[in-house]
Symmetry: C2
Subunit: 464 residues, 2 copies
């Protein structure tokens, strides 16, 4: 069984070897080499290819035997060559390997998997991610084993959201999404068949990683459920861990390559287990992304009382429904706060919850309402609906909202929908660290996720 050495060589290697580097565009060994060079990886980079003199203008190394004590090897040779290569790497004291190559368990080739396992056995301190994976990315130092070219998969900027994905497809979609939405990513791991390093190792590593603020986890199977959930119970209250389990139905489980029989009732089993650990289950892929965006921006949620502020009645109604359906409560603002607003707004403004500024709203009224909600002790969470179609709002309202939110005293979600005019203002708010949504229901679900997590965390802090 492989050892338990630190995972640092994966994420902060001083030296990287691409084993199976290629001169041929379109090949995995080409894309990986190109990405590392283009991304500007600052450590020593070795391209290993028995035939080539140079690749992408860099001199090649003929064989692993010429290298010694490399931190990270990225293996992209054909599957049948992998056992031999990893044995060589072990002998040359490589510290960590990412095996991208596929053609093992996932296509039913248990024999080759066993051969690989045996090849690794003499080198318990050499840790392995994969095989059959996209591998890893650390946005901070641009270690990047992904074989998807940058023009197809734009890399996100560095930031606090880290991802663990068993599926390469979900993983790459996540990265692409993050870069499009301009969210920063810390570390990304697609761990494939999990021959050595599994979800438990990765969760443990990221919870202890000071650069990771929010963890997003896409799981299909869990190799050892007990081990994973025991670890998660100890760890998942420390940081938000948002999780989507694929294969929760017999149909999905079959697609995930699991045995149908063993999965009966798994949706309930997983839901209960997640709840016990404080992990935040996402109901769908969109929620997974929405929760990540919300947690990265929001301060601690101190309760479940939501104040809705709106300039459109119907959107307020839908938001109020969502508050109730998600088990949150409508806040009752203090009489004094309402009285103060009453003096500064016309009588047709509805000072209830939803607080309906109506289509006659100005920037100033949004400022008054949001300011009051942020300081009112009866309000824990804020859902601010702003429909830019009304006549008296100007672009400056973005600044009004951003300024009030700057100290991040309470979780704030902004809901706005419309054409380009609305989208421009949403992007401006996102730029200022405000999480925005198109629909009230999604925003309220995200607030619910915040409320649940921080309530769990507080309980855990009181009674560890």
């Amino acid at each position: 069984m492989p050892g338990t050495a630190s995972l640092e060589p994966f994420f902060s290697p001083q030296s990287v070897a691409v084993i199976g580097a290629s001169r041929t565009p379109g090949k995995i060994g080409y894309a990986v080499s190109e990405n590392l060079i283009k991304a500007g990886f600052k450590g020593k980079l070795f391209l290993v290819n028995p035939q080539a003199e140079e690749i992408l203008g860099r001199p090649c190394v003929k064989s692993v035997s010429q290298l010694n004590g490399i931190d990270l090897g990225i293996v992209c040779v054909p599957a049948e060559l992998v056992p031999g290569i990893v044995a060589e790497c072990g002998k040359k004291r490589f510290k960590a390997l990412v095996i991208i190559s596929s053609g093992f368990d996932e296509i039913g080739n248990q024999e080759l998997t066993e051969k690989l396992r045996r090849a690794l056995r003499p080198f318990p301190t050499m840790r392995v991610i994969g095989p059959n994976c996209l591998g890893i990315m650390n946005m901070k130092n641009r270690v990047d084993s992904l074989f998807l070219p940058e023009y197809r998969l734009k890399r996100p900027k560095p930031g606090g959201i880290s991802f663990i994905s068993q599926s390469g497809a979900v993983g790459s979609a996540i990265l692409d999404w993050a870069s499009m939405m301009d969210y920063g990513v810390g570390k990304f791991i697609s761990y494939g068949n999990a021959l050595d390093i599994d979800e438990t190792d990765l969760l443990t590593y990221l919870v202890n990683d000071p650069e990771t603020k929010v963890i997003v986890l896409y799981l299909e199977g869990v190799k050892s459920g007990r081990k994973f959930f025991e670890a998660a119970k100890k760890l998942a209250w420390k940081k938000p861990v948002i999780v989507l389990k694929g294969g929760i139905t017999a149909e999905g489980g079959k697609a995930a390559g699991s045995h149908t029989g063993s999965l009966a009732g798994s949706a309930q089993v997983y839901a209960a287990a997640f709840k016990q650990t404080g992990m935040i289950p996402a109901g769908c892929l969109q929620d997974l992304f929405d929760y990540a965006r919300t947690f990265i921006h929001a301060p601690e949620a101190r309760g479940k009382r939501v104040q809705i502020i709106t300039d459109g009645g119907g959107y307020g109604v839908v938001a109020a429904d969502a508050v109730a359906l998600n088990g949150l409560q409508l806040a009752n603002m203090q009489e004094s706060a309402l009285a103060a607003m009453r003096k500064q707004m016309p009588s047709y403004v509805v000072l209830k919850n939803p607080l309906d500024l109506t289509g006659g709203t100005s920037n100033e009224w949004y400022g008054l309402a949001l300011g009051a909600a942020l300081t009112d002790k009866n309000v824990d969470l804020i859902a601010l609906i702003i429909l830019f179609q009304v006549p008296n709002l100007t672009s400056d309202v973005v600044q009004v909202i951003s300024n009030l939110n700057a100290r991040k005293t309470k979780p704030l979600t902004v809901i706005s929908v419309g054409g380009e005019f609305s989208e421009v203002h949403k992007r401006a708010m996102e730029h200022d660290g405000i999480v925005t949504f198109s629909y009230p229901e999604n925003a309220i679900r995200s607030l619910k996720a915040l409320a649940d997590f921080y309530e769990f965390q507080r309980k855990k802090k009181r009674k560890p």
Copy 2:
């Protein structure tokens, strides 16, 4: 009680009078006049203002008494003047009125509402939409009573989706959404307080309107539930009627201005009633939009058997879960079809459901798989996942998919997520009449809506 004359004067007026037209930008009477002029309304347009000589370069009429037999009056005078104005309009044989002015029931002014009702009583053939509404829009002839300026609320192109919205805010968001997504809109009605024309009248009108293919309905209260549901039972199986009910919880109901007491259990009551009529209930605003997009593009769904085609395993797993969770079935393609594909694709392609073309996929494999699913008698619905991050796909795959879908033999949803590279291809497919989604869950819910509606319709056709 007002009469039952046709609603045609609202949507195809030969003459329109803006009563309360204004010279002052920012005023409702200015925005309405400007929109009608700019939109190029082709009939006769009269701007009524007692003081102004001309507005926006057009000569004004001093008073309604100078007009006669106008098809449509758009009333934007202050609320207290409305009863007097409508009586004048009645005397001058106006056929239809949209009363935009607010300040009636909705702010508790029952007295003024009663006064308005009395003023209308002598003119039963003059139909009224409003008060307290955005009014109407008919994209085909650019009749447009909305007071939201075009730069804030871009008007959509003409098309087959018509909207009925009790809420102006939800209504304008819908229009803005449609224009941003480039979906065509037929008629749009925001009917506010429903003093005369209500949801039943409008539903009846749109079901019988040959230009309307899909009806989208946002409801808060229903004035006469029995009348509405009786009408819906007769009508809603004829065309897709997608409905979102706001105020289904005590909290939302209160926000909608209804009495909490009478709403207890209303979510269940409405759900059951919608089901009986064949209307398609949307669970949230996003579903409302997604279902509309899907119904406008998709042919009849002949059953519930979904074939998933994917190039990413994880997305396929999530889609398979969604199929099961929504009560749909995974299709079993015919052996002969699978055997034919087997001959043309490498062994690592997973010819099951999900049909996983893997990250090695080419355009051609998508063509083979989609072609097979479209002709296979065991497949009713298709969810095609295409993640553009993989190396061998080219932009031409859009053409491959579009060509196969051109005859619209089966409902097809395309699911793709990612950055700009993916978005460009999604837009190209949307342009070709293919409905696209970012997440499998949303696509599968939309397929479920199709399956349910057409099943209901077939039953109704067999046993009317």
